[in-house]
């Protein structure tokens, strides 16, 4: 598969446009701490991407239901971006993760995380407010983690670091395994796809995508609960 040059150019143009605004407005915000970047347009609180409606309901609370897992997505997930790095629609990603968990009788609560774009910290945060203590983090480009409340943030139950090799069956298996951990089982980890040539092809693009994604971060904004309905 080839990198889509149009997408690449679009990202470059959008981010550059945002930066010009920043310079024009003299937006010399201290980059170290408050990096709610003015470079991106405000995101809608409710968004429908082909087949899924996601609406923010207010700050995400700690859950008590042991039959829930919390799925953390990034601000650009299914809003500014609609697909993963290999063009899998975010709606399909959600559908498969939900289906995988439902097969095990576990339901998923979705939150949007603004304070970090680091998928390990997103997933750990999700695990900490999850009734079962199990959380999942998914970035727009597809990078995913299954996490557990009592682990170190940079440890994990299962990590899927190579976004270009994560396909829909893998997303379904991630939902299923997360649900099994929530039930106290010890599932066989989702088989690791390893493509040693993914980096040469995608790393430059991943850097562009992440710069865009990180632009939506807002360190002072609390995570938001999302209602998700499939159409």
């Amino acid at each position: 598969m080839k990198i889509n040059p149009e997408l690449l150019e679009k990202i470059v143009r959008e981010v550059l446009a945002g930066m010009e605004t920043e310079i024009e407005t003299g937006g010399k915000s201290e980059p170290s701490l408050s990096n709610s970047s003015p470079s991106n347009p405000p995101l809608p609180a409710s968004e429908t991407v082909a087949g899924v409606q996601m609406t923010e309901k207010g700050p995400a609370a700690r859950g008590t239901d042991p039959k829930e897992i919390v799925l953390a997505v990034s601000p650009a997930f299914a809003t500014a971006f609609k697909t993963t790095i290999v063009d899998i629609p975010h709606s399909s990603v959600l559908r498969q993760v939900f289906a995988g968990a439902e097969e095990e009788g576990i339901h998923i609560r979705v939150i949007r995380v603004y304070h970090t774009a680091d998928v390990a910290f997103m997933a750990h945060h999700a695990a900490r407010i999850s009734g079962s203590g199990i959380g999942i983090g998914i970035l727009s480009r597809g990078t995913s983690v299954i996490h557990q409340r009592d682990l170190n943030p940079l440890s994990n139950l299962e990590l899927f670091p190579q976004s270009p090799v994560i396909d829909l069956p893998t997303f379904r298996a991630i939902g299923k395994n997360a649900a099994k951990y929530a039930k106290g089982e010890s599932p066989t980890p989702v088989p690791t796809n390893n493509d040693p040539m993914a980096r040469p092809r995608y790393q430059g693009l991943a850097a562009l995508l992440h710069n865009k994604e990180a632009g939506f971060q807002d360190r002072s904004k609390a995570s938001q609960e999302l209602s998700v309905s499939f159409e």
Partner: protein
């Protein structure tokens, strides 16, 4: 729209592997720029008393925590005025002048600001950088490190591959995991297999930092490398860290007699979306200086896992060469990358390695994949085991010591088998899920995880958890081996445990010989000052490199 008539030649060129690589244009504002960005600061220094009050155009009050750490701990204030007064060209010329000693260069470099160091590199082309590396690396004899991983995290296969890697000449071996909970077994496999292949092997388990320290203290690993530092405050803070917390972690290793080095590399900050518009090499210079300031003996750099980023922009691989050289110029051990896939093109892959291979570095690769790349859980290395005969040929073609030696098939089969059986014995003795004779046989002859069966993973994971809970140490492993008839391997492990107490291998750029002798920048210092000086290949070593088994011998024809 009718398609334009195509040139057959261009159609062929487009199908070449190099066209699968990602190439991107420079983008100054986010720091997608290799070296010498117009947004990099200009060098300056002001000193009051023995304190730096201005560095690279910023006053002390404006310093980020990284800049403050660097200004306070990584610059020799006593020499700074004199060193900073020299022009960048003058300093660059010192590096390639055979009449200027390594010591004189280090005296200057350890008194420069980050921006000044980065600008010295801008004065140099890659051949000059290679000439400088020959003089500036701190240990005289080059060495090599290997990755030993498995897509199945298969403990028996890992032990066999570790044994083969160290038998082939890799003096350090490094593993990581597909499934993080397998990590204790991976450490165990490299400890046992590594010592079977060559007594004195240093092994490590690249994982979450607290875990790495724990297995190190238990004697299941003998060094650590994956302690990451970054060039912008935001990336540092995102990892819940500061230069001070990293320095504290470094001292924890030192206090337990464990070798360690930091890791950094060009491209990491822009990859994480927080380069703040600075060039990759300028930010990497800050990382090298944080390492120096923390008192750590060495650094793994050369972009490492972000190599796809510098390699995608103009002059990127020159910047990657420069970052290795900067590390040497600050008198640190360098494990110089070449450890991650970045290109589909065999020409680019080979060319990327020459700036480290030809002059030699402390660890040319960090590391070389000792397994097929499909089993490489660092997401693939620039060279893998399938390339090893090409590597041996290059050593022979250029009379270069790249740290490896030709081996015979029957010898490799023997060490792999012994490592697999030793692992079987340890598992049996410690009550872990049994390793069958069939698994031993399969892993002895296999090339990769596709050639072997699956283990019962949930059972293995439970046992791995128990290994940690029961606080199994290197001594327990040695006892198990001795009890089951592997006395020599047990002795090797005890030899490694003894190194902790002696502490000699905490010296800069150390590796351990099979008789327990430590070789480092202290007793094997680089003395290069032009032709006829520095590393000289012994006759014995040259005979070894020459003897690739598949060469036709005149006497046989």
């Amino acid at each position: 729209m009718a398609d334009a008539k195509r040139s057959k030649r261009f159609e062929i060129l487009e199908k070449r592997p190099v066209h699968l690589d990602g190439f991107i244009g420079e983008w100054i504002e986010v720091g997608l720029y290799a070296m010498g960005s117009p947004q990099d600061p200009k060098p300056s220094i002001k000193i009051e008393g023995d304190k730096i009050v201005e560095m690279d155009g910023k006053s002390r009050g404006e310093f980020t925590m990284i800049e403050q750490f660097v200004a306070d701990y990584a610059i020799n204030v006593k020499n700074a005025r004199e060193a900073m007064a020299k022009s960048e060209t003058e300093i660059a010329r010192m590096l390639v002048d055979i009449n200027v000693s390594r010591e004189e260069c280090i005296k200057v470099f350890t008194a420069l600001t980050p921006s000044k160091i980065a600008r010295v590199m801008e004065e140099m082309n890659v051949v000059e950088m290679m000439m400088a590396m020959q003089k500036m690396r701190c240990r005289q004899t080059p060495a090599n490190q290997a990755h030993v991983t498995s897509a199945k995290d298969h403990p028996v296969m890992l032990a066999a591959d570790a044994a083969e890697a160290t038998f082939r000449g890799f003096k350090e071996i490094e593993t990581t995991v597909g499934v993080v909970r397998y990590a204790p077994f991976n450490a165990l496999a490299l400890l046992v297999g590594g010592q079977v292949g060559r007594r004195g092997t240093l092994s490590q388990d690249a994982l979450e930092e607290a875990f790495e320290l724990q297995v190190g203290m238990r004697g299941l690993t003998s060094y650590a490398e994956t302690v990451s530092v970054y060039g912008t405050e935001r990336v540092f803070v995102d990892g819940d860290d500061t230069p001070w917390s990293k320095a504290f972690l470094a001292s924890a290793y030192a206090s337990r007699g464990l070798k360690m080095r930091f890791t950094s590399g060009t491209g990491s900050e822009v990859q994480m979306g927080a380069a703040e518009g600075k060039s990759m090499l300028y930010l990497e210079t800050l990382c090298v200086m944080v390492t120096k300031g923390a008192g750590v003996q060495g650094l793994q750099n050369g972009s490492i896992s972000c190599i796809g980023v510098p390699a995608a922009v103009p002059s990127g691989l020159r910047a990657v060469t420069a970052e290795n050289l900067i590390t040497m110029c600050l008198d640190l051990e360098v494990a110089s990358g070449n450890d991650q896939t970045f290109s589909h093109s065999d020409q680019r892959r080979t060319a990327r390695t020459m700036p480290q291979f030809l002059p030699g570095t402390d660890w040319i690769f960090s590391g070389y994949s000792s397994t097929p790349n499909y089993d490489n859980m660092f997401a693939g290395s620039n060279w893998d085991i399938s390339d090893v005969d090409d590597y041996l040929a290059l050593q022979r073609d250029f009379k270069v010591d790249g740290g490896l030696r030709p081996v015979k098939e029957e010898d490799v089969v023997a060490v792999r088998n012994k490592a697999a059986r030793a692992m079987q014995a340890v598992f049996a003795e410690l009550g872990f899920p049994p390793i069958t004779d069939e698994e031993v046989e399969a892993c002895t002859y296999a090339n990769g995880s596709k050639d072997i069966g699956d283990r019962n993973i949930p059972e293995d994971l439970k046992a791995a958890e128990r290994l940690m809970k029961d606080a199994v140490t290197g001594v327990d492993v040695a006892k198990a081996l001795a009890k089951r008839g592997f006395r020599d391997v047990a002795e090797s492990i005890i030899l490694m445990m003894r190194q902790r107490v002696a502490g000699d291998y905490l010296q800069t750029s150390a590796w351990v010989g099979s008789d327990g002798t430590v070789y480092s920048a202290v007793n094997d210092p680089n003395t290069y000052m032009g032709p006829g000086t520095g590393y000289k290949m012994s006759e014995e070593r040259w005979e070894e490199i020459k003897a690739i088994p598949w060469a036709i011998r005149a006497e046989d024809v």
